[in-house]
Symmetry: C2
Subunit: 299 residues, 2 copies
Amino acid sequence: MKRIVECVPNFSEGRRPEVIDAIVAAIERIEGVKVLDRSSDADHNRTVITFVGPPETIGDAAFAAIARAADLIDMDSQQGEHPRMGAADVVPFVPISAVTMDECVHIARELGARVGQELGIPVYLYEAAALRPDRINLGEIRPRSHQYEQKKVDVGVVEKWAPDFGPAKVGKAGTIAIGARAPLIAYNVYLTTGDVEIAQKIARAVRHSSGGLHFVKAHGLLVGGKAQVSMNLTDFNKTPIYRVVEMIRREAARYGVSVESSELVGMIPQRALVDAAAWYLQLDNFEPRLIIENRLMEE
Amino acid sequence: MKRIVECVPNFSEGRRPEVIDAIVAAIERIEGVKVLDRSSDADHNRTVITFVGPPETIGDAAFAAIARAADLIDMDSQQGEHPRMGAADVVPFVPISAVTMDECVHIARELGARVGQELGIPVYLYEAAALRPDRINLGEIRPRSHQYEQKKVDVGVVEKWAPDFGPAKVGKAGTIAIGARAPLIAYNVYLTTGDVEIAQKIARAVRHSSGGLHFVKAHGLLVGGKAQVSMNLTDFNKTPIYRVVEMIRREAARYGVSVESSELVGMIPQRALVDAAAWYLQLDNFEPRLIIENRLMEE
């Protein structure tokens, strides 16, 4: 199996494509790293870049991107709808294939130390890489009420905002959150009904916040006249996609409807689909090396 | 998607590892080609090598292997339980990823012409690469009653045995079958019973030869006290693995038993499992590029 880490940094720039081009170019100069996607939003004034690479060099690519963003984005003049605290705002590392979460935590912390020291940017470590319990949740590091301007005032003064790495002083590049998290799967299930209330009831049944499965966020919507259960699966290793779908099927039957189809929004790790196949087929001896393509990707 | 062809040549040598080492080395010298497996049987005096590579060079690797086998294996002294007609006996090309069957047919025919001309070996094209209907089935090209010794007598004399390429004369390297076929999946399903008759009845229901699904070969066995439906799925694109399993589940219920587990014997293309996941999850917008690993393999 090829060892793959994904990095999905968010930058506070969604209006100047030349800036994003420069950041992408800095990432692509690093050996073994590949940019899969870039997506800019002008209203939010924000861009998400998705790239993958081996654990050995993915941190170098993220560093190059952060340095370039710090050069080209001046937070004193940046405005947009999305909460933000820095030029490179949020940088998560995600284990995709043959890499552990611990390795991603290590990459995030090493990068945090380097960004603090070499770029002079205050760094907060979050999610699995967090060093303090009040920094696990990104929302607590960058609430709408404490963005770039407030960080500038409070970092170095208020203990709560002391960075994990870097100076206790905020420059024009702002501050940054660097972390490690499980892959996120955006997944929607359509029901054979136009009754949105059924989708809402099912969403409440399956999601964590109202008593359902641990790593599921869900809400019910009406999309093109069809009731849809719209979800984020935040850790498919612990709450697998097939268990979520089977639970939705059972709940739907309760209301006399069934699943009409489902859809992925964005990409998915191979493992999430292959685990589903193995579960439904009751494949007991399955291991990823039995897939021919995986053997070819071995070094 | 990376373009991948698999080649699974059978050689009439299973007792001298140094001969197999030399053939493997010849394959591995070709750019972009990777040997995944080698499996020798001393009683059959036969070795199967599995290698993969891009459509551009996989034929060169097969040619190198055939040439080396022709040098090192003398069919006049070769003996074993398995029917055989040449040093390199059977050479199929299999489309694995982003390659069509037509492309594999083209690779097989080009290789056939080259083996005939440059190595002076009589070549029969088989399965999807066959040029005559009586050569689609390998069993008709190499029946137990017409092996190396009979080919030596009849090729050049009997029209039925006129080769598709190469001289109408058999040397010490014998003759060879070169072809193209769909990936073969060896797949077993265990039932919650020790009654082998149930496995046999289910095998008869699902297999092509007795009225079942087109690309399924099956028989019922008792393995470790459990009834097993043992299968070869010879074209998973047309008869997918999930349809076979669901049919077995339904038949098993008829006899009051169910599927306990299933197992793969050997490797499987990613697509076969991912198609099963998409079917069970009712994923309507699925395409292979949504898998992160596939994007990384793109050239």
